[in-house]
């Protein structure tokens, strides 16, 4: 057994060596070869037609046209990948580090988890967030916090999410950010939401508590005229 594997290795190395010598003699560089093997793999993607999107979302025809024009301007290929999304989001929060929160957002938007957002995914979520019922909005928020999609928000997940939100602020904030502040915030959240005190927040607890809180209900409505 050992002999054959050794022989195979010897043969492979011999082949590599002769390849190396031929390349040396003919004067080709290894960097030249790599270019030929690559093919351009740009994907063009176009969304479903306007009527279908109109029926799926709460937007009017003109609003969809406006949104798509803006979207297509920045993403001519028709999809947004994670890096582009992070860069765009960073433009809104120049003082802080928005990459973590953008990542959570990306995962929340990306329903089929294929690593890129198409226009339909974005517009459907947008219609939920801007024109949907409060229950749908709360559902979406729960999905955002539930990083591993197991139906429960644990303390660690909440800590991660809150830390990323605090990261959006950056360093020059007042009063100064202490490490304890984020944990305190998590504790307050769990005190409010975790009714049965089992250390995790399920979706029913979450929606229940939020619907009882007047402030949250009010604040969910403020973006309703955003488009």
């Amino acid at each position: 057994m050992k002999m054959s594997s050794r022989r195979r290795r010897c043969k492979r190395q011999l082949i590599k060596f002769t390849q190396h010598i031929t390349r040396l003699i003919t004067g080709t560089l290894s960097s030249d070869n790599e270019d030929e093997e690559q093919e351009s793999t740009t994907v063009r993607y176009h969304p479903e037609n306007l009527e279908q999107l109109q029926s799926q979302t709460h937007f009017s025809r003109q609003e969809l046209q406006l949104l798509y024009r803006g979207f297509k301007n920045d993403c001519p290929s028709g999809v947004v990948n994670e890096d582009t999304f992070k860069n765009i989001y960073a433009l809104f929060f120049p003082l802080g580090d928005s990459s973590k929160y953008a990542q959570f957002l990306f995962n929340a938007f990306d329903k089929d988890k294929n690593g890129s957002l198409s226009f339909e995914e974005l517009v459907c979520d947008l219609s939920v967030l801007l024109r949907g019922t409060t229950e749908e909005k709360l559902n979406w928020a729960f999905n955002l916090y539930d990083i591993n999609n197991d139906g429960q928000i644990t303390k660690e997940e909440m800590l991660d999410v809150l830390k990323s939100i605090y990261d959006l602020m950056g360093k020059s904030i007042h009063p100064r950010l202490k490490e304890e502040a984020v944990r305190q915030h998590v504790r307050m959240f769990f005190q409010k939401m975790d009714i049965n005190q089992d250390g995790v927040v399920t979706i029913e607890e979450f929606i229940d508590c939020c619907q009882k809180d007047e402030d949250i209900m009010q604040s969910l409505k403020i973006f309703d005229n955003a488009v």
Partner: protein, 637 residues
């Protein structure tokens, strides 16, 4: 904000729903879009060529001509279009800027025409995108140099109040200014030539002395040559002394290369005068005469090409160094090989490796004197390899030097290395400006108390006021940032105030703690250290001075903050707060932006900046909008 950002703002605002359940404070109300008209096409007629675009596209950059209400001045009522009497070709690039967010500079355009169009439409040239920025800067520099050359030519007319010394210096530097200078120039040239020819002819053997061998002319006509030499040295000395007198900075003149050459040229004569005809020393004296040949370098004042050659050699020092190094390596290798190859043969000239150096050098430079030849077969093989490789090694760096020379000669000694640094610096500062731009706009509107009016209890009239000053996009973005503040229960402050606040708290803690100020979180360096966003440098004990100094500074009612950016040239002026310099104390000039109330009491409500008095106008600064009245908008992100 950039084009793309405007389109994505609804997504960012929708994503803010994710903050709502974790927020503990009520959110501010959103700015409403009262006149929500459908997006319409507008027609821009530029000298007859019609361009059409959406109104929203132009609204992306509200502080340019097309994005603001200034374009209403150009509205033609009968044809319902906006008419501009400008160049339609350049307008294409400008309109593309609105569409794509990138400003490109077409190569076929004249630089000053392009600049004028940009200035007319209110776009600052610094936002030209990277693909075209270098080209733009190059053309701009060429133009500026051309203008400067024209200026200098005009300057040659004699200024009335030049002292005698200045006139003389100018005459020395530019021989074309007056006839006296020209005469002097030619006379010195003539005498340099005479001196060099004399040196050469001195050594030519001429004629026989009875019962003596051939002697050089110098020994035959000693007095004649001595007189010639004396005359030349007289002229050179007088010239050197006159230049020394006329030089604006004598110390610098004495250190310059040309003056050293002058000194070296005339010194041997004086040393020879001083020394007697002592037999021991005359050997050294003869050596000194060699230095007289340096007089030939004095010609470089008369020849531009010679100066450029010297400059080229200086600037190609690295290539020359590489040439030398590679040659040395090759010489050593081949000399060793040849020595050991020829060791066997009898009566071989290759007695040692250093002796083989001579053979290697002669072979590699393809001279081939033939005084040393290899005799063994191995020696011959290696000898041929040596000569082939010699050609290659020498041929490689030489074209670089040649091209350098030609480039410098044709472009008249432009400093190219500085160009790369300037571009890099400009890019970095542009990126910094854009980054600070939007954040400082938000902080600015905060200070003006606009965001307070957006609290949930706000009234509608303040909303109307709000509309007049900021664009809808800006106000929506600020609302977003305000929601973030409410979610986290922390507020954005300006970096400088943050630093001060930090100092305050540190100083508060100071009496209670030990004098070592490296407290738990670390404190940013003060005064003259640049503040970096992510890192905080630990304080050392020496910073106690700066603390107290800071405190004293703070107790003044006005603070000079930062410096105005040198880059804002057009109407869309940048916001006054720039985070370019993180220091308060270092810069002495600058614009006063805010007043800070400083009572060194509890740090929590301390570093609040209140927009007290509008800053006193700085008479030197070009007109900048008063930040108390309107919000300055940034057109570049």
């Amino acid at each position: 904000m950039a084009a793309g950002v405007a389109a994505w703002l609804p997504f960012a605002r929708a994503a803010a729903i994710g903050w709502m359940p974790v927020a503990n404070l009520p959110m501010p109300i959103a700015p409403t879009n009262k006149n929500k008209h459908q997006d319409e096409l507008i027609i821009l007629n530029v000298s007859g060529r019609r361009f059409q675009t959406w109104r929203n596209t132009l609204d992306r950059y509200p502080d340019t001509l097309l994005g603001s209400s200034e374009k209403e001045f150009f509205f033609n009522e009968e044809t319902r279009e906006y008419f501009f009497d400008r160049d339609p070709d350049v307008f294409r690039s400008i309109l593309n800027f609105y569409r794509t967010g990138k400003l490109h500079y077409p190569r076929y355009e004249c630089i000053s025409a392009y600049d004028e169009e940009l200035a007319f439409f209110g776009i600052i040239p610094e936002i030209i995108s990277d693909c075209c920025y270098e080209e733009y800067k190059d053309r701009k520099r060429e133009n500026a140099e051309r203008l400067m050359d024209d200026l200098e030519d005009n300057k040659d007319s004699k200024l009335p109040n030049m002292t005698f010394r200045e006139t003389m210096w100018r005459a020395f530097e530019n021989p074309h200014t007056s006839t006296m200078a020209l005469v002097f120039y030619y006379v010195t040239g003539f005498f340099i030539a005479i001196s060099v020819i004399t040196n050469v002819v001195e050594t030519v053997p001429c004629g026989y002395m009875p019962n003596q061998r051939d002697i050089p002319c110098g020994e035959r006509y000693t007095e004649a040559f001595f007189c010639m030499d004396t005359a030349c040295v007289m002229i050179f000395t007088v010239e050197y002394l006159m230049r020394l007198f006329a030089a604006p900075s004598r110390y610098r003149f004495m250190r310059s290369v040309m003056s050293i050459i002058d000194v070296v040229a005339i010194l041997p004569y004086y040393i020879g005068l001083v020394m007697t005809n002592n037999e021991d020393v005359s050997g050294a004296f003869v050596t000194l005469r060699v230095f007289r040949v340096f007089r030939i370098f004095k010609f470089s004042r008369h020849s531009q090409g010679l100066r450029i050659l010297g400059y080229t050699l200086k600037s190609c020092a690295s290539e020359l160094g590489f040439l030398l190094f590679s040659l040395t390596m090759a010489i050593i290798i081949f000399a060793t090989v040849m020595f050991y190859a020829e060791k066997g043969s009898s009566s071989s000239k290759f007695t040692s490796i250093p002796a083989s150096f001579w053979y290697t050098i002669v072979t590699m430079t393809t001279l081939g004197y033939g005084d040393m030849v290899p005799k063994t077969i191995a020696g011959k093989i290696f000898g041929s390899i040596c000569s082939l490789s010699g050609v290659l090694v020498i041929a490689l760096p030489v074209p670089v030097i040649v091209s350098n020379f030609s480039r410098i000669y044709h472009q008249n000694q432009r400093a190219d290395k500085r160009r790369a640094q300037k571009v890099q610096k400009a890019r970095l500062s542009r990126m910094r400006i854009s980054k600070s731009g939007s954040s400082s706009a938000f902080l600015h509107s905060k200070r003006n108390g606009l965001n307070q009016s957006l609290e949930l209890t706000g009234s509608l009239e303040e909303d109307q006021q709000l509309k007049k000053t900021t664009s809808l996009l800006e106000s929506q973005h600020h609302h977003l940032l305000h929601c973030l503040e409410k979610t986290t229960n922390h507020e954005f402050v300006d970096e400088r105030l943050y630093e001060q606040g930090y100092m305050q708290t540190a100083l508060q803690n100071f009496p209670s703690q030990s004098p070592s100020l490296s407290s738990e979180e670390g404190i940013t360096g003060t005064c003259c250290s640049r503040r970096t966003k992510k890192s905080m440098q630990p304080l050392s004990a020496t910073h106690t001075h700066s603390h107290t100094h800071n405190l004293q500074e703070l107790s003044a009612l006005h603070i000079q903050c930062g410096e105005r950016q040198a880059l804002n040239t057009s109407r869309s002026s940048l916001n006054l707060m720039s985070d370019e310099s993180g220091s308060l104390n270092c810069k002495s000039s600058g614009l006063v932006t805010t007043a800070i109330i400083t009572i060194p009491t509890p740090p929590s409500n301390n570093s609040r900046a209140s927009p007290d008095a509008p800053p006193p106008p700085n008479p030197d600064a070009p007109p900048l909008p008063n930040p108390g009245n309107d919000v300055v908008k940034i057109s570049a992100l």
